[in-house]
């Protein structure tokens, strides 16, 4: 088994996994919001349907994935467009920290 235990690799894996998750969720998200076409009541009905701990947990997961993908993407852009080659390790750690923070914020506010 080839060894891939370096921070930038973890950064890549997290970025890819979060990206796949978000890409699969996106159509569902748009479909759900599309209830608004039938008026406010339809949207409210959907929101009441999802107002339970299981959906809350899912939403928490999505917010965390979104923050993770955002921070990981900024790392890639910094490397590609600004040529930031130093401190990649710190940027990966920072991304993870940002995602955890966003997830926590969501839990605090949603609770």
């Amino acid at each position: 088994m080839r060894d891939r235990r370096h921070p930038a690799y973890w950064g890549f894996v997290l970025h890819r996994v979060s990206g796949i998750g978000l890409a699969l969720f996106l159509p569902l998200h748009f479909w759900a919001l599309g209830h608004a076409i039938q008026g406010e009541a339809a949207l409210e009905g959907f929101l009441r349907f999802t107002d339970n701990w299981a959906f809350k947990a899912g939403e928490w997961g999505l917010v965390t994935l979104l923050a993770l993908h955002l921070a990981g993407g900024l790392r890639v852009l910094a490397l590609e467009f600004l040529g930031w080659r130093a401190r990649q390790k710190d940027l990966v750690a920072l991304s993870a920290g940002f995602a955890l923070g966003a997830g926590l914020m969501f839990l605090l506010h949603a609770g």
């Binding site: 060894d3 370096h6 930038a8 890819r16 590609e80």
Partner: protein, 236 residues
């Protein structure tokens, strides 16, 4: 004397050997000892033994390394070494790989210097004056010390996912020449490294930069190519 367990990939299987563990020994020493004392038909490759030629690279406990510059005590896990040929390359036999695809890609990435002043390969009449402190020269110098050992190529997942992918070393070379003010092949070179088989498939996993025995940074070189192509496309 303590024993070292050495597992070596031979064909489809793993062969196992026992070698005396010494105070000072490199992985290459161990392979040589096995070949001399126990397995005369073991195939592997080396030349200089001092980290200049880059021919002794193998995968040692999952990490591609120059075996001549790797001390056993720094990499052995529980007194065991697992040796495989470099990944992403055809195996000729045992630990010796065929480097042909690796070097073919250098050619495909236009890794050859094309003098601006002498397009036909003639020797320019005058010496080019290139200040070593100029930013472009510094960028070129950052990648110039590559000796083509293939460690980065074997450590790159994108190569395993796409056999056409040029790989870190070839593109590091291309980036060096893109920054060489004496070179006249910039446009063709950037075209040659563009697209899915080139720099645009790099995901900055930085296995190359992590593993390069010369501490070069091919990952940043590839990023530089992406950048140049991006702004170049807008300028066209």
């Amino acid at each position: 004397m303590a024993q070292l367990k050495v597992r070596i990939q031979r064909g489809d299987g793993m062969a196992e050997y026992g070698v005396a563990a010494r105070e000072n020994q490199t992985v290459l020493d161990v392979v040589t000892e096995i070949q001399r004392e126990q397995q005369p038909d073991l195939a592997y490759r080396f030349a200089c033994r001092v980290g200049m030629c880059g021919s002794c690279a193998m995968e040692v406990n999952g990490v591609a390394r120059w075996t001549c510059r790797t001390h056993v005590r720094k990499v052995a896990e529980d007194g065991t070494l697992t040796l495989r040929p470099l990944a992403n390359l055809p195996v000729i036999r045992d630990l010796a790989t065929d480097m042909t695809p690796f070097f073919d890609k250098w050619a495909r990435a236009r890794g050859q210097f094309q003098p601006k002043d002498a397009p036909n390969g003639a020797v320019p009449a005058e010496f080019a004056v290139v200040p070593p402190s100029s930013p472009k020269r510094q960028e070129a110098d950052a990648g110039i010390e590559c000796i083509g050992c293939g460690v980065c190529y074997a450590s790159c997942d994108v190569v395993s996912w796409n056999p056409d992918y040029l790989g870190p070393a070839a593109m590091n070379r291309a980036w060096t020449l893109v920054n060489d003010v004496r070179d006249g092949g910039r446009r063709e070179r950037l075209d040659a490294v563009a697209g899915d088989a080139g720099c645009h498939s790099c995901h900055s996993t930085q296995g190359c930069t992590e593993r390069c025995p010369k501490n070069l940074d091919p990952s940043s070189a590839i990023a530089g190519l992406k950048r140049s192509i991006f702004w170049g496309v807008l300028a066209r």
